[in-house]
């Protein structure tokens, strides 16, 4: 059975990925910037949106716009069913057991803060410990520092090596009876490292500790199966997976979500309200106070439709090919140093050019019509580990091409000329 599956997968990988055809689905890609065709390599910050997502959002605004869950009228029912339909799509996309385990949030940052308030403030006490990793995005670090400060709890850190891989041998030693939660990213946004989250979850669970996975960079590049990972929480941001900003999901196992405190209080999250006390609605409503970003959530559903409609194995294989090609070409340029050389990487490529500041790199590349990210990528401890103030980062999506990598390489050479 496993062997048969492998053959099927290998077959899919071998199939040609028609990147020119796919690019036509993304209207934004066909423009020129500074007189040159746009090369968009900032996908890890926000990925572009395909036409069907744009059209789905427009259709909602044109024909269905209305508040959800509150009206008995036609439009409200249309909007509600589109919104709940998107939740079903998310459920299938990440293979959650039930749709009510998928909470719509603004993005990963809000999802993690939901867990911090709902789980952390309820269950974490003085002297308890929270484990994070050295490569976390600030959004999976700062909320836990805030919690530790409030509770007198302690933050423990899984270290990484100079390749940018977590040192799992040290992980077991960090777990003890005071550990209340492990928080780790699926894929590092600054290094590209794919972390062995399934293994991390297994080890944490052996000690009875739940695990939150920051899936901001996981969902766009990997097939996510939350039941297979067996993680307790998984957070995703729609804008990193071809949907509009303002859409995101916090997946949580129902048994946790039910035990947790609500996060934001207000309308829609209550069952009964009197001046003496209020009782809360069942999940997912308990965590969705106020009018949500309905159009964005519906857009996320459409983005999932889009992803289901393409050959994702081939798409991911194409991304890996771009990463390998770009890594090889940039490595061969004297003075370029790749930051993040883990064995398992997604298509995120951090680098520095000699002692040229990455902001200067970013500006010069922008002049060439190339969009990359320059900065600390909300991961200052990672920058500290590698002894750099910042890095330049090119991140590839399945609509990028080898020719675009060549343009990146030529522009990097130009930077070296300017600063020679």
């Amino acid at each position: 059975m496993a062997a048969a599956e492998d053959t099927i997968r290998a077959g899919a990988e071998a199939k040609a990925w028609d990147v020119e055809r796919v690019r036509e689905d993304f209207p934004v890609l066909s423009q020129t910037v500074n007189g040159k065709p746009l090369v968009y390599l900032d996908n890890a910050a926000s990925a572009q949106v395909p036409r069907i997502v744009i059209e789905r959002g427009a259709k909602y605004l044109r024909e269905e716009h209305s508040n959800i869950h509150r009206g008995v009228h036609y439009l409200s029912q249309k909007a509600t069913s589109a919104y709940e339909g998107a939740r079903e799509k998310v459920k299938r996309f990440i293979n959650a057991r039930e749709a009510r385990e998928c909470i719509f949030v603004r993005g990963v940052t809000e999802g993690i803060n939901l867990v911090m308030h709902g789980y952390g403030r309820k269950f974490v006490r003085e002297g308890d410990e929270i484990v994070v990793s050295e490569m976390e995005h600030h959004s999976n670090l700062v909320p836990w520092q805030m919690l530790c400060e409030e509770k007198g709890a302690r933050l423990r850190v899984i270290p990484m090596n100079d390749e940018g891989e977590l040192v799992l041998d040290e992980f077991d030693g960090l777990l003890n009876e005071r550990t209340k939660l492990v928080c780790v990213g699926h894929v590092s946004n600054s290094l590209g490292t794919v972390n062995p989250v399934k293994e991390i979850v297994a080890r944490a669970h052996k000690q009875g500790v739940p695990v939150l996975v920051d899936g901001a960079q996981g969902a766009p590049h990997l097939k996510v199966d939350v039941q297979d990972l067996d993680c307790d929480f998984y957070a995703i941001s729609g804008h990193k997976m071809f949907a509009p900003t303002g859409s995101g999901v916090l997946y949580g196992k129902a048994e946790w979500l039910e035990k947790m405190n609500p996060f934001i209080g207000g309308g829609s999250m209550i069952r009964t309200v009197t001046f003496e006390r209020s009782t809360y609605a069942a999940i997912p409503d308990k965590f969705e106070a106020g009018t949500p970003a309905i159009a964005s959530a519906i857009g996320l559903g459409a983005a999932i439709d889009y992803l289901n409609g393409i050959d994702r194995e081939a798409a991911h294989a194409h991304e890996r090919e771009l990463l390998a090609y770009a890594t090889e070409r940039l490595t061969s340029i004297e003075g370029v140093r790749i930051i993040g050389t883990a064995r398992e990487k997604a298509s995120v490529l951090g680098f520095v050019i000699g002692d040229v500041h990455p902001h200067d790199v970013g500006t010069i590349l922008d002049q060439e019509g190339i969009a990359i990210r320059a900065g600390h990528h909300c991961a200052q401890p990672v920058m500290q580990h590698f002894g750099v103030p910042a890095t330049a980062r090119a991140s590839f999506a399945f609509y990028n091409t080898k020719e675009e990598v060549d343009r990146l390489v030529a522009a990097v050479q130009k930077v070296i000329e300017v600063f020679a």
């Binding site: 040229v356 902001h359 500006t363 002049q367 600390h376 920058m383 300017v418 600063f419």
Partner: protein, 158 residues
Amino acid sequence: MSELSELYQQVILDHNKKPRNFQKLEGANRTSEGFNPLCGDQLTVYMLMDEGVVRDLSFVGTGCAISKAAASMMTQAVKGKTREEAQVLFHEFHRMVTGELDEEAEENHLGRLKIFAGVRDYPARVKCASLAWHTMHAALEGAETATTENLGPGEVNP
């Protein structure tokens, strides 16, 4: 849109490579720290102020070519100026890089500093050019820190 060469001119590249007055100033009676929380640029300005005159001025710090060159040339421009003259330069520079001052049409004292005019075409980089000036200004005023965090709309990163 300016061509690349207009921002990364030889003078700027040269000051980036060999920043002037780039050391801690022994005997400074004012120091001010500036930081740009958006990009992590950080610098310290040391000032020796005597009878209303900036007798000496230096800086140390890390940042991009634009911010380093701007700091280097700022120290050269402000050294020896009176407090009032330094204030005038600060305001003129600030207005130039935010596009409020046309350095060719309006009278000003910017001189060589005009090579930073091109920065106004790169809104994301305006703060890089002005950080050293804000920090110097803070030192003039006797403040210990300056930040580009809460600047007016002209300087907000888009």
